[in-house]
Structures are given as structure tokens and as C-alpha cells.
Symmetry: D2
Subunit: 243 residues, 4 copies
């Protein structure tokens, strides 16, 4: 019989399979856009936006008076601390490939609706409902490298990206090995009721879906750029090798 | 000419002198209540209440989107992390002298209005106005030992309190030496404008006054107990040696 | 040349057409589920959940200190006032067709993820970003009757629903005629910059999409019920005429 | 035997007597400052500040998910609606006696600490703890005219203020007669437990004390102005007839 944590792994794994089997993923991988740094840069602008909020909504779980578990409060603050300022890695990566973002408050392209939905949802689950549920998000995201590393390898090769231009990815894949263990440990301690596991799984699946929607929205925006349509991301056209 | 930080020290020092010269302080010190553990226990119940919120409102400064300084966000989260659960020291101290608090949610005597004002004000300054202003509170509170240590020594002797019954005090006096240095460092970095120094000083003076009001309210409540009047703190009468 | 408000109408109208042309709509309309009161009841449980929050997040726009326009604050409070308690109409409609919900806190089936995303997003746009943007939601929702009335007529006939069992719908269609005018008036007053119109349109489109997702999620849940699969909505099986 | 509401009246009445018997009240009334429009104007600047927040924190009680009473939610929104923009009356009164406040965001003198404490406390009690407790504030404040009208009459005569320069006062004394009745009605409906009455009384007494502290702080600031000391309220010196 499966343990609760194995059941959670299974649910997340199935969701990943379902997402990775969508035709857009194949299309992206095998097409020219998979070689165009603009697609990568577009995604990084959105990473900048959600990373800006992740440490904050993670800390909000500790502020939330419904969270009365001292050990879990400490987990939330420690992880918030470690993720503070990670948007600066996304900014670094954008700059390092040549995107001329001087002041991010002025020059950073806007947040896409898909990204804003992830942000809004994370603040909501951090301040309302079961206070342990946000761990569902931490759980899959700290363990996502197994699912995405082959893709990242492929894209970075195709796009000609060096490791020093992928600091957001590589720093997280390092940190997150330890984090994944810590998240698993705290889940085993604070998930006590059926509702804890249920809400945790719900948040995992929902945020994984929302994150995939960011990727698919980025593809949509990329296609506008590629066709030369008006776009709020035109600053990225400096990366277009075929221009 | 005084530096800005020396001016802040001066303002705080004057406020301390003014508080310590109030007649209630002398009365308390030289009277029987200075020998009655109930007075100490009453104060500890209020320490429990504000300590319960301090880590949370400290973390709230990092959540606050007006706070855009990554280094300051990290300071806030680190200090919130280190202060999480400190209400449990106050609870330990109450239990160790014999106050029968089994479940603090049910058995802990209520928050006094003076204490609630400090709590309400700290949440307010952590989420509104100048985001660096809460440092004024951290600054004086981490440096308060010079002002109170002689009093604590006197009371603990008069009340027959052992060091193991004063964990809240002794743990903080240890931690806070390092904290005081860190607070001074971050103040020097993030207080840039005249308004930063002004709002920081305002929060320092206001929270020092509010904290002194907790002490004076505790004296008022103690007097009710001592006279045998009805009180929400009667659970502390088990400490009365003269009963 | 189109006025700004006509442009907004156009954007919303196109979005409606796109939603109504999705195959699920046709499938639903022409299938047995379009005759099964459980499909209607399932939707009403979700109306209950989002209506519970709508007045609150509408009022939140007035609380938001970024909203400095007294007239707009009054609009927000007036509309929040008029929408307070509207979840009770959804509850009434559920009870009137025979769903045995005694205490909604215990008996009401849970919020679906699609519904929670709408709720989370509305709190987010009410408390962050451009304070006028939530008007995009009010604008399309108060004017939605032209798009949905034929469908409601069809379903209510097919499902055998009386007007007294559709109080949420009929009360709103009455109130909303006046509301629609008020929303248009306030939009014309407070939308001043390009950003106001852009953010308002973004919130309109996003919330219309999220609302349609509630409908599509309801269909998915209905199919589980219809197949006799385990479901958190089994309380609605009392409505099944074919059982 | 006294009813609960009579007991609340008694508690409030005693607090008023105690405040009005403080020596500062007599000193103010019988001294030159009681004839100096600067003292009135100083108070009005603080009325501006707290009135700016009152409608907002009143509305926050309806947003608060701990408030589940539809009738009480409606009361909160209706009263918030009626109090929205009342800071503009204080602004009008300041301008009408000649204080050159063009843009209040720039020209309005700052909030005093006493005023900020009232504001912070009202947000706190509106969003935490027993959701009905804020009614204690509404209850005494809507009924305050019996206590202060003789003073207002005296000061307005001594200071040479016309009725059209006291719009904040006269508009409220008109509105508040009806409001006082509505507050009493809702209290009788929603105060059900001992804790409701206790927390309501606590908030009444605390906010009455905090409001009196605004008055006493204003006197302190006035004295600085009168002595020609540096002050953040020097804009009011244009009202000094003895200059």
C-alpha cells in the first residue's frame, strides 16, 4: 500500500506527464522557436515576475495567524529568506544574453495574465484556508528538475545559452535538492489530517497547471513577436538572429 | 557634531531616563509588589502576548511590497526567524514558577489594552508608511539590557527567581547583543533620507512608551489582585506567598 | 472612430463569442445533462462560493489606500452593499429544488479550483495594482444577460425550473440593468489613462475566461456524477430523476 | 437591574466624566489658547487624518471573513459609505478659516502619534479578534454630542468660528443622531455573548481614551506653536491674530 507521500508523488507525476504530452511542448521543442533566444527571454521575464512575489507569499504563511505551528513558521521564514531576491537571477540572465534592462521597474516587460494568476493564487492560499496547503507548491517545484532537465539541456544547446546565462536554473537546481528534502520532512510533520493531504495535493496540481500555462502563454507571445506583430515584449527583438 | 545614529541613541536614552524616573517605577521597586511573583508573572503573560506577534509583524515588513530592498527583506526574515516561538519562553517561565497553564489558548490570561496597542501599532507600521520605520523598534529593544538589567537583578533577587525561570530575559540578552549590532548595521544601510531617520525615531519613541505602558498597566492589574478584587488574572494567585 | 467604451464592449463581445462557440457549450445544451437538475445545482454551489466573496472583495477596493477617489470609493461600497448576502439566493435556489443543505458551512459542496481561481484573482486585483481595474469585472458581469438569457431560458425549460427557483438569476438581471448603467458612468469618470483602460480590459477578459472555466469545470464534475463515480457533490444525486 | 446597553452607557459616561475632569480640559477652556484658532485648526488637521481612515477600517469589518452576519456586513458597508470622504469636511473647515492647504497630500501637516495610534488600533480591531467589537467605537462616537456640544459652543464663540467653518462638526451632529439609533439597533442584534459585550466595551473605552489623547497631544503641539518653537504645524501661524 502506498504511503501518503507516495500518493502525492504519483498525483504530481501524472500531472507532469499530462502536461509534457501536450502538443505545444513537442511543437516548441522541434521548431525554430526552440532555437530562438527570444522564447527563453520571454519566459525569464515571467520568472522575474513570479520570483519577485514567491519569497513574499511564502513569508505570508508565517504571518498568517491561522498558522500556529512554530516549526512550520520557521520553515516558511527560512525558505522565504533563501528565496529572497531570486528575481535578480532572472534579471541577470536576461542581461547576460543582452536584453537592455536598465531599471527593471521601468524596462521589464509586463506580467502576463497566466503569471498573474499564479501570483494571485499563491497569495490567496498563503493567507486563506488551510495554512499548510502552500507546501503542495513547494513540494513539486523543488522536485521539478527531474522533469525539466532534459528540456533545459536541449533548449540551452539549441539557443546557444551558456551556464552563466542560466543562473536562475542552475542555482535553483543546486539549492532545491536540499530544499526538496526539507519540504518532504516538514510535510511529513505538519500534514496530519485527510484535509491537509487533500488541500496540499490540490495546491500542487493547481500551481503546476498554472505554471504550465505561463509556459504556454509565453509561446503565444513568442509567436506574436516572431510574426512581427505589435507586442509588449519588443525589447526582446534585439535577440533575434534572423532579423 | 553628532552622527545620525548618535542622535537616535540620544533620543532613546532621554526617553528611557524619563520613563525610569516616573514615580511608579520607584514605588514598584521599593514596595512589597517588588517581592511578589504575581507581579512578575503578570508581566510575563503580556510578554507572551506581544512575543506571539513580534515575529509575525517583523516578517510582514518583508511581505510589504513597499519594501523593495533585498538586503532589508533578508534582515526582516532572518530576525523574524530568530524570534519565532519566543512566546514559548515566556510560557516556560510562567510554568516554571508554578502557574498552571496547560493549554495557552485556553488558560493564558488575556491581553491587556496596553499590550494590544503595542501589537496593533507594530502591525500598522510594518504594513503602512515608510517600510524602514519598524527598525526604530528593533533598535531600542535589542539594546534595552543596559537600562533594565539592574532592575531585573533586583526583582529576581527579591522575588526569589532563578535564572532557569527567566529564560525569556536571559536568552534575549544573549541573542540581542549580536542583534543590536545587526540592527545598527542595517539602519546605517537603509536609512537614507531625513524621513527615514525621522520615522525610525518616531517608532522608537512610540514603541518604548507603549512598552512602558504595558509595565504600568501590569502594576494596575497587580494592585487589583493584591486587594483581592475580581480579576482576569486570578490564576496567578497560586503564587501568593501571603495567602 | 470607436470610443474607448465601445472598444471595451467590442473586446468583451468577442470574448463572449469565443466562449459560446466552444464545443462544450453545444454538447451541454443538446445533451441529457442539459435536462438534469444536477448540472444546474452543481453550478449553483459554485455561484454560492464566489458570491460569498464578491461583496467582500468589492468592498476591499474602497479599503485599499491606493484608491484615493472619493466618488469611486462610494461606488465600491454601494455596490458591495447591494451584493452582500447574494450567496443566500444561490442557497435558496438549491434548497428550493430539494438539495438538503441545512447548514451551508457544513453541507455545501466544496469550492472547485476554477471557482477558487476567480475568487483569488478578484481579491488580488482589488488590493494590488491599478485600483480601478476591478471595474472590468463589474462591467461585463452586469451586462451578461444579453449573452446568457437564451441559454437560461432553454435550460430552465429543459430542467423544469420555475422562476422562484432561479432567484439568483432573476434578481440579478433586474438589479443589474441599473448597475450596468452605474458601472458605465463610473468607468467614464475614473478611467483616465491608457493604463486604466488597458488594465480594466485585462481584468474583464481574464474574469470572463475564469467564469467560463467554472462552467466547464462544472460540466466535468457533472460527468463524474452522471457516471456514478465518487464525487464531493453526491449530495446532489437526490435530484437525479433517472435513479 | 440594568440592561446590557445601559451598562455600556454607564461605562462610557464614566469615562467621559473622567476625561472631562482632567486639568488640561479646564486649562484649555479658560486660557488664551481657547481663543486661538490655531488650536482648533491643529485639531482639525488630526480629524482630517483619522477621518481619512475611518470609512476604510469600517468597511474592512465587512471584508473580514470572520464576520459572517449578513445584516452586520450591510451595517458596516452602509456606515462606511456614509462616512466616505468626510475628511474633506475637515479640509473645508481648515480652508474656510484661511489655512492655505492647496493639495492635502503635500500641504496637510503630519499625523500626530496619538492620532496614528487610534488609526492603527481601529484597523487592528476591524481585522482581528471579535468582529463585532468595533461597534464599541461607533457607539460612543455617534453619541458624543451631548458631552462636547457645550465645549464646541464655547470654543467656536471664543475663536470667532462661524457655523459654515464647522461643517465637520455640524454635519456629523446631524447624521449621527440617526446613526446612534442604528448603532444601538445593530448592537442589540449582534451582541449575543458575554464576550461580545466585553470586547465592545473594551473598544469603546480604549478608543475614547485614544481620542482624548489626540486632544491632549494637540494642546502640546499648540503650546510649541504659541511659544514660537519649531513645529511641523507652522502653516497654521497664518491664523495667529497676535502675531
Amino acid at each position: 500500500m502506498k504511503t501518503k507521500i507516495e500518493q502525492l508523488d504519483k498525483v504530481i507525476s501524472s500531472k507532469w506527464q499530462e502536461i509534457l504530452s501536450r502538443p505545444q511542448v513537442m511543437n516548441f521543442t522541434s521548431s525554430l522557436m526552440g532555437e530562438d533566444q527570444r522564447a527563453f527571454a520571454l519566459y525569464m521575464t515571467q520568472v522575474y515576475h513570479y520570483a519577485y512575489h514567491n519569497a513574499r507569499n511564502q513569508a505570508l504563511v508565517a504571518v498568517n495567524l491561522a498558522n500556529k505551528d512554530v516549526q512550520y513558521m520557521k520553515f516558511c521564514l527560512k525558505h522565504a529568506l533563501e528565496e529572497t531576491g531570486h528575481e535578480l537571477m532572472a534579471l541577470h540572465d536576461l542581461r547576460s544574453i543582452g536584453v537592455p534592462i536598465n531599471d527593471p521597474e521601468k524596462d521589464m516587460p509586463p506580467v502576463l495574465t497566466a503569471t498573474e494568476l499564479l501570483i494571485a493564487y499563491l497569495y490567496w492560499v498563503s493567507s486563506h484556508g488551510n495554512p499548510v496547503q502552500r507546501l503542495g507548491y513547494s513540494y513539486w517545484s523543488e522536485k521539478s528538475y527531474d522533469y525539466i532537465k532534459d528540456y533545459v539541456k536541449l533548449f540551452s544547446k539549441n539557443m546557444g545559452l551558456k551556464k552563466t546565462q542560466l543562473t536562475f536554473y542552475f542555482n535553483h537546481s543546486n539549492i532545491d535538492e536540499r530544499h526538496a528534502k526539507e519540504v518532504e520532512d516538514i510535510i511529513k510533520k505538519v500534514f496530519k489530517t485527510e484535509d491537509d493531504w487533500k488541500q496540499g495535493a490540490k495546491v500542487a496540481i493547481t500551481t503546476l497547471e498554472l505554471t504550465s500555462q505561463i509556459f504556454f502563454s509565453v509561446i503565444g507571445e513568442y509567436e506574436k513577436l516572431a510574426k512581427g506583430l505589435p507586442s509588449e515584449f519588443e525589447i526582446l527583438n534585439c535577440l533575434n538572429n534572423n532579423k
